[in-house]
């Protein structure tokens, strides 16, 4: 009786759709989903299934997010189950698990028949979701590109990086996974060398416990190596900064000529101011003393004499420059070692093996 009434209503809606296709196309996916859910709650499962399938078709065509499609799928699966189409419900739930391995039906909304069927399908369906940073930069070697795997159920996975032609590039992990797993990649290839190509494919193969291949998720990764610029060498001390390290002849000449001039002035003082009859002995003693001082000054400031204070000051400058060179050398060596790789992840794709 109920089924007959639903059929009548379905026909009425189909007629309305045929009469007013433009009106239906204007109808939003939200309203289809809401109507489908309302029909499900009114136990009009045929109508709910029809509406939800149509809603899902629109969402899939529009590339809607997985969360939106998952909500429709769980109601669709439940509707199919209550329509007595268990195989169809299983297929819908399998599609749901493949779409989002983390999805769990709300046990307050769906009865145990639905959740039990879903859990059974989930346990049978071996798939993983791969989550990677969309665009990141890591340091080759010590850096880590973290690959998160979220599994639908306990299974074995093989995580490998492959060249674009499918040849192996680097094996990252092979083993069991329960709920989730983080697989790091240091950016290097199998020989611990920087990647020689700018595109690899991250491949995660799910296997049942029997070893049977259950599915493959592939994520293309674009790679770009970048090496930081090295620092320029610090310039050596300019000539203008360096003090003369050898005495020039100026100071020596000044001493000698100054001594001679002053000695001459002492000797000639009586001739300049008068009193030429003064005894010359004391005067000559003073002139001689000053002359000797000039000679001593000449010896002390002789040309080419090393200027110790200047040599020491220049050495301090040169040592400081050498320290800057050593620091720059170490920094450049560190920068040469520190190669960065920029990783851009593409859209993941799911490959399902053909059934028997």
């Amino acid at each position: 009786m109920m089924r007959g009434r639903s059929l009548v209503r379905l026909c009425a809606i189909a007629w309305a759709l045929g009469v007013m296709p433009s009106a239906l196309s204007a109808q939003t996916s939200d309203s289809l989903f809401a109507t489908g859910v309302r029909a499900y709650k009114n136990l009009e499962f045929d109508l709910a299934a029809w509406l939800l399938r149509r809603d899902l078709a629109q969402l899939t065509a529009a590339g809607a997010p997985a969360t939106e499609r998952a909500a429709g799928l769980v109601y669709l699966g439940a509707s199919d189950l209550f329509r007595g189409r268990r195989d169809s419900a299983t297929a819908v739930f399998r599609r749901l698990v493949l779409l989002d391995p983390r999805f769990r039906p709300d046990r307050l909304v769906f009865p145990p028949e639905v959740t039990s069927l879903f859990d059974g399908v989930r346990l049978q369906t071996k798939t993983v979701t791969v989550e990677v940073p969309r665009d990141t930069t890591i340091v080759l070697g010590p850096g880590s590109f973290d690959i998160w795997l979220i599994a639908s159920s306990f299974q074995n996975v093989e995580v490998t990086l492959r060249y674009a032609d499918g040849a192996p590039f680097r094996a990252l992990y092979a083993g069991p996974i329960g709920d989730s797993l983080k697989v790091p990649w240091d950016g290097l290839d199998a020989a611990a060398a920087p990647p020689p190509v700018n595109r690899v494919v991250l491949r995660v193969a799910s296997r049942a416990l029997t070893g049977e291949l259950a599915g493959i998720v592939q994520v293309p990764l674009d790679l770009r190596l970048s090496r930081p610029d090295t620092l320029p060498w610090p310039p050596p001390p300019a000539d203008a900064q360096l003090l003369p390290e050898r005495a020039k002849s100026g100071a020596a000449k000044r001493s000698l000529l100054g001594g001679l001039l002053l000695s001459g002035a002492v000797a000639a003082l009586p001739a300049v101011v008068g009193g030429t009859e003064t005894p010359s002995g004391p005067r000559m003693a003073v002139a001689g003393t000053i002359g000797v001082a000039g000679l001593v000054g000449y010896v002390l400031h002789r040309p080419g004499r090393p200027l110790v204070a200047n040599v020491r000051a220049n050495q301090t400058l040169r040592d400081a420059w050498q320290r800057r060179v050593a620091t720059t050398t170490a920094e450049n060596a560190r920068r040469r070692r520190e190669v960065h790789v920029v990783v851009r992840a593409g859209e993941p794709s799911l490959i399902q093996p053909r059934g028997p």
Partner: protein, 211 residues
Amino acid sequence: MRISLAVLAAALTAGGLQAQALRPNGSASFVWARVQSQVPAGTQDFAGNVFLGQGAVGLGRLQLSLSYLQGTLNRDGALGASRDLVEGTVMLGFRALDWLTLETGPHARAYALSGSTQRWLFWELRARAATAFVGSAAQGYAELWRAVAADANVPEPFDHAQGGEVGMILRLARAPLAARVAYRLDHAVLGGGTRLETVDGVVVGVGLAWH
């Protein structure tokens, strides 16, 4: 004239006095001095060691210097009375260039003879050039002066007088101490050359200079 010179010097240096620190210095020296007096009656020579104290204080380009010399000179070559020599100067100076200082002021000299004192007073203009010639340790200097006016209680009228000093000052690198050796000579002519008064001496001393 003297007041005008002082006012001119003060005007030239007034701007530089602000933010200038006083630069005092002083020295004590022994002078082996000789005095020769030539008069128509004959020549008298006196010699002896006398004490010379000098001090100066500088402010900007201005400088005030004082000197005092005192000692007993003995008759040279013959027995006779000695004479006491006392001399003093007060000079106001202006450092026209880094190496050139111009000074003016009175220079008084007295000979204490037995029973009388011969007094001389010169108003002098001095020019002093000084510069280092052995690194910065040894500074040589030469000073010339000429009397623009004089007064002496001797019978002969004053004709002219001039003098000079040439020497060397050695400074220690890390101390305000300095040593000096110099030769100085004054020569005065009176009565158209009938009386000649010559005073010369070798100066050896030590000094302190605060910078």
